[in-house]
Symmetry: none
Subunit: 141 residues, 4 copies
């Protein structure tokens, strides 16, 4: 099973809707495929211009390591030099905090990741989980 | 005048519709703001995984230089070392071919750029122009 | 509303005047637009040669994240690995300390940023705030 | 003899005045010191956002090689791979075309360089030469 553009569009729409429901700041949402490559992205008006890279960094590290943002953060807090080294080998593209959420298909395999940024990391992750659920997929934050 | 996410969504939707109308291969479409930062992106199913970077490179060079893709290509054909050098100063992010299209606002100023990739460069540019027109904006290919 | 070269020249002149009034060391002052691109810069005689990159790094991170230098520093002190990761995704161009000051237009939106370096970070920020006020704009340090 | 900020400000002001006199497009002007480090820069309203890097690239190659833009261009046309290799060792920061102008002091030694971009390369160079002359210094285009 692979993640389609329709999945990605649904995820982005539902993540943004959740953000409005929770009264969050303007969100930026990226969906990556199982290879870590960008499928779709939207940045809401009023978000800072550099938000694409933060969203992508949250999702990219999740796919590449097979570890969601909260697990990456735990590792960074225990062993900062390890996550720094990981970032080195991945070209500095990893942002190890919540808001990077794995997307799993029916058989439980990772089929992509979502990266959300704009509000607190925990709120970003909550919005992403709602978006993934709306697409009928399973998120792991 | 600035380019909004609603503009970007309309541009992407209408660019993709034009691609289907013309029978083009799967397209990837990015919209950048006036500072060259990503506002929205979609990659159609069946497109190669690396298409984001190509689409962004077409649009990024357009914004940063204030020159659309066809003008960049003309310069690259006349003076290859100049465009190679430009790419060096922009971190290798410039793809100087058609499909990079400037978006101009009411007063004629550049408010962003669209990058399309997937079919021939000329078809990519034609689809982008249709997308920009659908948003009530003026494209320069 | 966008930041003009005249705004930038006024900001630089008034920031430097404030530096002399306070008896600060030689200052370097950059003004970036809303996309993080350099509009104007001056480095006072006697400043170290590498000051452009420090000034730019303070201002660039401010624009890209929509967070002024003091907020970036607070985040770096709480979560060093997060700001290190942010720096990775922005190509190592972020210097997260005071002296990076957001410039807001009449409606409160971010229209650019000023980066000042040369004295203590707090003095750098104070001079920048004076410069921005002299241009009739609102700073956030 | 070293180039001062006052020299740099005079050069920029007079280069811009020459541009207006000749009816050129909006110019961006950088002045580098003898070590290739930025002393001052201004980008006129209406210029594309990425002009700092082009201006700097013209001036940087001039200082680092001790060769003005027209000499670099001649070399690039004779031996493109050589200038490409030079660019590699200088981190991709060299733009080998006219508009990169050496600044010589009273004893003929190189004390800095000016980089101008915005119009044709030859017009850029002409404006730079006028700016350097206005500061009582000798330019080599």
């Amino acid at each position: 099973m692979t993640i389609s553009l329709e999945h990605a569009r649904t995820i982005i729409e539902a993540t943004r809707a959740k953000g409005r429901e929770l009264g969050l700041k303007p969100l930026s949402v990226v969906v990556l495929d199982a290879g870590g490559h960008v499928l779709a992205f939207e940045r809401e008006d009023g978000a800072a211009p550099g938000r694409f890279a933060i969203a992508q960094g949250k999702a990219y590290g999740s796919v590449m390591l097979g570890m969601a943002g909260s697990a990456q953060m735990a590792r960074a807090e225990q062993q900062a030099y390890f996550m720094a080294a990981v970032n080195g080998v991945y070209g500095g593209q990893v942002v190890p905090v919540p808001g990077g959420v794995l997307v799993r298909g029916e058989d439980g395999g990772v089929i992509g990741a979502v990266g959300v940024t704009g509000d607190t990391s925990d709120n970003d992750a909550e919005a992403a989980m709602a978006g993934i659920a709306a697409a009928g997929l399973k998120g792991e934050a």
